[in-house]
Symmetry: C2
Subunit: 318 residues, 2 copies
Amino acid sequence: MEDVPSLVAQAREGRPRAVARLISLVEGASPQLREVMAALAPLTGNAYVVGLTGSPGVGKSTSTSALVTAYRRQGRRVGVLAVDPSSPFSGGALLGDRVRMSDHASDPGVYIRSMATRGHLGGLAWSAPQAIRVLDAAGCEVILVETVGVGQSEVEIASQADTSVVLLAPGMGDGIQAAKAGILEIGDVYVVNKADRDGADATARELNHMLGLGESRRPGDWRPPIVKTVASRAEGVDEVVEALEKHRAWMEEHGVLTERRRARAAHEVETIAVTTLRRRIGDLRGDRRLGALAERIVAGELDAHRAADELIAGLTGS
Amino acid sequence: MEDVPSLVAQAREGRPRAVARLISLVEGASPQLREVMAALAPLTGNAYVVGLTGSPGVGKSTSTSALVTAYRRQGRRVGVLAVDPSSPFSGGALLGDRVRMSDHASDPGVYIRSMATRGHLGGLAWSAPQAIRVLDAAGCEVILVETVGVGQSEVEIASQADTSVVLLAPGMGDGIQAAKAGILEIGDVYVVNKADRDGADATARELNHMLGLGESRRPGDWRPPIVKTVASRAEGVDEVVEALEKHRAWMEEHGVLTERRRARAAHEVETIAVTTLRRRIGDLRGDRRLGALAERIVAGELDAHRAADELIAGLTGS
């Protein structure tokens, strides 16, 4: 068993191993998970969580790296959670381990964590928010959550950020692909990366059209900006940071930040509750109660719905 | 609202519209679902449920049709539940509506029902067993459940039958594909269809090897037979029926049939319980209780796990 209070204290001092250990405890649903989460609860709520999503090849990792550099110049502590299986950060990497993000590997103000997209109890919807809480409690002021914009759970995670950045790159049909993946609906800030390539202006125009950004909005509504970048040369990255800060300020002004964080917390509670109930029901396999109900169903004495009622009633409290 | 007792009575008399209506009520989770299931419970448990699964192109629909013919010659009432989206029975068809199975379309002793693989509350794991109960209560003595052997829920349904038939066809790599799809573990009877083609013997040998059928087994163990068929010409189909009857007799002799039906009922109860709890949690979205919990989490006063406990305690009693 780990000494959780000591791990938490070390994580708050900026010790990467302690952060890594805590994330492993929460994502693996260890017996100490609840102890860790209870210890972290009063320490969280300070980080600004930015989701970055986009199809493979748009330059998500390069953009994430450039944003880390920009935030580090401001002296902010940054956490990166990469839930993209194709990301160079992938493979259980923390702080330079198998990480190509060499600019940041030796920077003690940056935490990098990758997360496999499969295999966790309850999946990403369960493990990502808890890893974010660890990074938050460890003192990261900005947390960049990089997800590939393919797959419902990845899009869901991105949409659960304080601010969601959707990345695109010039090229025929890219906008259509983004729309298909459902990521066009979730952007607070849009980035057309690789803007030195042909078609960048066309992509931005197409995006502007698809988003209906030309249409009138109610006063006070957020109008998602479209920023053009060449992340590999850090061009336009300061403008992205500026757009993020504007969105954050707008959210704070309109009470949206608290609203989003409550929605995220509610979603997290739901996920944990469903996973817990599923596990409890799973524990009943081979249990006498479920076996007895099944026997009565086969005998035609009971239908499956009334049996499910009895099963649910038996789950109470425990 | 439907008159459920009248629908049930009509279904027992063999009226196809009543059967169709009842299936729609149970798969769509109508408000009358529970009334229907309660009315059906004492009438079920007589049908012999046979699952047929295999990769696309092995001739599942042709084999199903040939089995229907064989069982009809014995004077048995037959139900077909096709949960294969690529099946010719697909598209909400009942009794000839958009069905190419023209041999049986006008036969009042055959019910054919297709089931979409998506869109139902709780998915196939929820709707298929309930549709089977309707066909069972309607007096079908044999129910053939045709599923494409791709995708976890499809394989799961096939494995929940009294007897599972796995179909293959000659061709390189077919066995490997079957193994990958996880369908090799679930077969009680194996059929190599299209046995007039080159490689049928090789496929049967490969299958025999992969299944370890040459190895010794405990006395009384079931040894899955491999039957070669040309379903389009009805060749070998009587042998399949014979193998099914042998398996049924073996199951009855060894208490396996009751055991399997209890396992199926237990699985059904679990699925209904999980779906019900999920829905109840979903109903809490925007609910004051969940909102209040989320507020306390954002304030750092509570962690998501303790919040989930409170949510669960509030759910399971109602």
